[in-house]
Symmetry: C2
Subunit: 404 residues, 2 copies
């Protein structure tokens, strides 16, 4: 039986406005916005002032509001709002990937404790219904890996840089203008944002609540013109790829830019589009492609969550409950192409070197490295890491474990 839902919305930025319009233009959904709480009373808004309040308790203390829709930037305030909403017996819909990734185990607990659901399809790959599919459809398929492009803003930038030969700052400015970029662009270009999404995906695909701090990541901000030339001369493109992978009872995860052959399915995913490929034991590879950024795609995902609440849908975190004995681990290695100048990297950093050369001031080494080494390099400005085409994560060999 469908219920009429009364919504309290926090935030009226790009996604909030998208939701407002999507909701206004959709018939048949039994939900109405009762209140919108924003921080700044001075800011010009595209709809009349009487919709807005400036005190979060106007929503949280209103017993008539069933659902809190949390669409603000600040992860600390977002988590406080989420907790209080659940305590007050309200369901929560949020698209705040950072807040979710950093508190997912607690949010799971809170849902069990207060009996109210938290839905967040819009937090990962915007319009792609990946969480719902991992929860519901891949319930019994034994997922072995997932990989994809989880950040629309950086994919837009890489597309413009590669295909239209725009400069990096120019492409970034365009992404921001179109509303694809986070208000702090370093979250995107340094790959924090796709890391948060990978942490959420790992919870629903493998049942592990992984602290995003644990996940190794590398951004696109250090890709040099020499890297771009190298890619072009070899008929390759570069995408920021997130992946997680299960082997020998362990789950590994990594986000890093990768050189891809033109035949690789992800190389055809352009602009603000995202993609996720799920590999299962029986269904084999399944790819979902859709817009990963922008107010309407994210707004439509938030709307689908609200719609699901009208029939009391909730995530069950089935893989977590299955107690599959998996543990998260960074004891893994992968093949990379590293560029650097002035001796920051040496052959000794590699488990195995397959190639090396110099182009002007830039030196390149290609070979197998441990995840720990990639983490070290993240701290060294001037070192740029690209995964090799067809790179596959492998557990560290025993020998490598001894030497690391």
């Amino acid at each position: 039986m469908k219920r009429n839902l009364r919504l309290g919305v926090f935030g009226f930025g790009c996604v909030g406005q998208g939701l407002y319009h999507v909701l206004n233009e959709t018939k048949g959904l039994k939900a109405e916005i009762r209140r919108i709480v924003v921080r700044n009373p001075e800011k010009q808004r595209p709809i009349p002032k009487e919709f807005f309040s400036y005190d979060e308790n106007v929503i949280l203390e209103d017993p008539e509001i069933d659902v809190v829709v949390e669409l603000i930037d600040d992860p600390v305030a977002a988590y406080r709002i989420l907790k209080k909403a659940l305590e007050k017996g309200k369901a929560v819909v949020t698209a705040n990937k950072r807040m979710l990734a950093e508190h997912l185990a607690e949010i799971h607990e809170l849902q069990l404790r207060y009996g109210k659901p938290v839905l967040y399809e819009g937090a990962v790959c915007a319009s792609i219904p990946i969480i719902r599919n991992l929860e519901e459809y891949y319930d019994n398929d034994l997922i072995s890996s997932l990989e994809g492009i989880f950040n629309g803003s950086t994919n837009f930038i890489l597309t413009k840089v590669f295909e239209e030969r725009k400069s990096y700052p120019e492409a970034l400015a365009q992404a921001q203008q179109l509303g694809f970029a986070e208000s702090d662009p370093s979250l995107d270009v340094r790959a924090f944002d796709p890391k948060f999404k990978l942490a959420i995906l790992i919870a629903h695909a493998f049942g592990q609540f992984v602290d995003p701090e644990e996940l190794v990541h590398f951004g696109i901000d250090r890709i040099s013109s020499t890297d771009l030339r190298f890619a072009r001369e070899n008929g390759l493109t570069i995408k920021l790829v997130g992946r997680a992978f299960k082997k020998d009872g362990k789950v590994f995860g990594l986000v890093a830019p990768q050189l891809l052959e033109s035949t690789h399915p992800l190389s055809a995913v352009r602009n603000e589009y995202n993609a996720v490929t799920v590999e299962g034991a029986f269904a084999e590879k399944q790819t979902f492609i859709g817009k990963g950024a922008g107010s309407y795609p994210t707004g439509s995902a938030v709307l689908s969550d609200i719609s699901a609440l009208t029939y009391d849908y909730r995530y069950e975190y089935k893989k977590n409950l299955q107690e599959n004995g998996l543990v998260f681990s960074n004891e893994a290695q992968v093949e990379v192409l590293v560029s650097f100048s002035s001796g920051q990297v040496s052959h000794a950093d590699f488990l195995k070197v397959t190639d090396g050369y110099r182009s002007g001031q830039t030196e390149y080494i290609r070979g197998q490295v441990s995840f720990d080494k990639i983490k070290e390099w993240f701290a060294l400005e001037g070192v740029s890491v690209l995964l090799a085409p067809e790179a596959v994560i492998q557990p560290l060999t025993k020998k490598a474990l001894l030497t690391v």
Copy 2:
């Protein structure tokens, strides 16, 4: 609350065996196969004889069996089994697209009457969870169109013919050997199979129960070596594309081979893979790609349906219930490239001619034609129809309606 399900399985061909293995290797699913009913007691089976019965009432009259899993070829027997199973209070899982397409309105009625669900994710694009997503996730997004590759066998054949320059009979034999083709290959190559799937998709995307007889379709069996050369010389590929589209209160549908630019997302879908692109008002284009044929991919979809029955999932046919006022129509036109010999086609058949030329014995005309004309040509051996690249279905103009 999850329930323990006792399954009665009809048929032990390619999909039945896939299900048997998938079920054996999957932990955590509360379902067991009680009986398998097959037709032929003489046939060699890959598992011991004691699993099998040869009388359908062994399953249908057994009150302990909760779910009938119908995986036989014969659509008449399949529908009889489905009806009787529902009457007897059993849920049904089926992958029989022909039976479903031909009886979907009645099957909807029967589910309401007997209160038992029929699930059939495996019937459309095997492992791709498209029906579940149309039902659940795109509930409130206003879907404007869907298009895709719905037949794994013909896509495999076209891939082998294009990329490996195999002959058509050689590619067909290989598809059959790999278990991708229907036992009657004309269902695949003459595009009946994808037409059945399109009819099912239209029900879940637009709420219309369309008699598949009404849907205009064209196969790949008339694609000539001249057509192939034409495509290759122009840097194009050919895919068998199904599509449905909503405009001005009408729903149109068509399955036909189409010339595609190499940049078209469907041109990269190879071998037995299928793809579906759903376009919505807010989520914009969403593409699902996965294996569309083979015992394991289909078996895993059947398994996901069985799993969904453990928590009493059912399709709600929400778009049908919304009474959106849509009607199905064939009053449409599309741009095609038609090849023929000996005057079977003339300029007068076209609403607008854009090009025409001759290659050896074969004549070509390119232009806009009505759906009715494509239906006429289907009956004329020797006429081959390819949709033009970027072809878009358009409602017939008033002028064209007068002259048709």
